[in-house]
Symmetry: C2
Subunit: 210 residues, 2 copies
Amino acid sequence: MIKIDKENTEEKILNAAKKVFVTKGSDGARMQEIADEAGINKSLLHYYYRSKEKLFAAVFKFAFKKFAPNLMGIFENESDIFTKITSFIHSYIDIINKNPFIPLFIINEVSKKNAGFVGAVIKNSGMNIDLFEKEIKKEIKKGTIKQVDHRQLIVNILALCVFPFIGRPIIQKVVFEDNENQYDDFLKSRKEEVSNLIINSITLTEGSDK
Amino acid sequence: MIKIDKENTEEKILNAAKKVFVTKGSDGARMQEIADEAGINKSLLHYYYRSKEKLFAAVFKFAFKKFAPNLMGIFENESDIFTKITSFIHSYIDIINKNPFIPLFIINEVSKKNAGFVGAVIKNSGMNIDLFEKEIKKEIKKGTIKQVDHRQLIVNILALCVFPFIGRPIIQKVVFEDNENQYDDFLKSRKEEVSNLIINSITLTEGSDK
DNA sequence: GTCTATAAATTGATAGAC
DNA sequence: GTCTATCAATTTATAGAC
C-alpha cells in the first residue's frame, strides 16, 4: 500500500476553503464555490466540517500559524543584531510573497472578531515579541544601536513589509499606472529598501550616544 | 423657513450607510442594519437609492474622496522639502485618526473591485503623485536630499502612517497585551516617529553625495 | 462516503395602502 | 414620503437513497 500524493476529500475541502475564504473573506465566501473549487458535492462540506463557521475556523488557524511561527526564532541565533533584523525582514517578505493575500485576510477577520476562537488562536500561536524586546534592549545597553522603542521598531518593520502587499491594488493604480510588471519589480526591491531604512534608523549617529 | 440642522431622510440614510458599510464591508453590511441605524423603514433605502449597490457606491465615493484630496497640495507651498514632508505626515495621520476604519475599508473594496465604478472613482479623485515626484526629483538634483526613489519613499510614508491603524486589532493584542490606552498613546507618538524615520532616510550622509 | 432533493433561514427588492 | 406585507432569490444546512 503506497501512499500516493493524491489528497483525500478532507484535504481537498480544506485546500479549496483556504483559497476561497482567503480571497473572498468569511462574508463573501460561498459554500458552493468551495465545493466547486474542491470538485466535490456541497453536502460533503457539512459531512466533514459541520458548518461554514467550523470550516472557516480551520482555515483561519492555518493562515495565522503560517505567519506567526519560527520568525522570532531568528533572534535566537548567534549573529549580530543588524544581521538578525535583516534576516527577519528578508524572510518575512519571502513568506508574504508566497502568500500575498493572507495578511489582509488575517487583519480583516481579526477586526471583525465575531468568533471567539480568533483570540484563542492568536494566544496559542506562540507569537510574542518578548525575545525581540529583550534583544533590542540588550543591544541598546551595549551601545550597539540607538536608543529606540522596540515597539515602534517592530511596527515599523511590519508596516514596511506588509503594506505594499495589502495596499497593492490601490498603490499599483495610483503610483504605478496599473502596471503589474512594474509593481512586481518594485516588490522585489523592497527587501533591500526596508532593510536599509530600518538598519539606518537604529544605527548610531556619528558623535552621538543617544 | 429656517433650515434646521436636522438632517433629512436622504442624509440620515447616507450617514447610517457610511457607518455600516465602512465597518462591515459591502458583503457584511445588511440593508436592515442600515435602516435601523438610520431609524427609518427599510423600504426607504430603496426609495432613495435604488439598490444596495447604488447606496454602496455613494458611500465609497465619499470615503475615497476623504483620503484623496488636498493632501498633495502641501507640496505646492513655499516651505522646504523637509517641512513639506513632515506636514504631509502629520496631516495624514490626523485624517486617519479621525476616520480610523476608512483605510481598511478602501483597501478591501478596491481589492474585490467587482464594481466598475471603483476604478472610475480613483481616477476622478484627482489623486496622483506627479507633484510629489517632480518635487523629489528637483531636490535630488539640487543636492538637498539623498538620491531616493520617489515611489519607494511615498510607499514608505503611507505604510508607516496607515498600517498602525489597519493592523491595530492584531498589533494591540500581540505587542501591547490588548491594552487600549497604551495603544492610543502609541498612536499619538507615531507622528514624530514616522517624521523622524522618513526625514532621516532622505537626509544626506556626512561625506557622501549619493 | 458521496450523491440528490429539499428544508429553513436570510436578505435584497417590490407592490400597494395611507 | 413613509409604512406594511410579501415576493423572489440566495444560501446554509439537513434528510435520505445508494
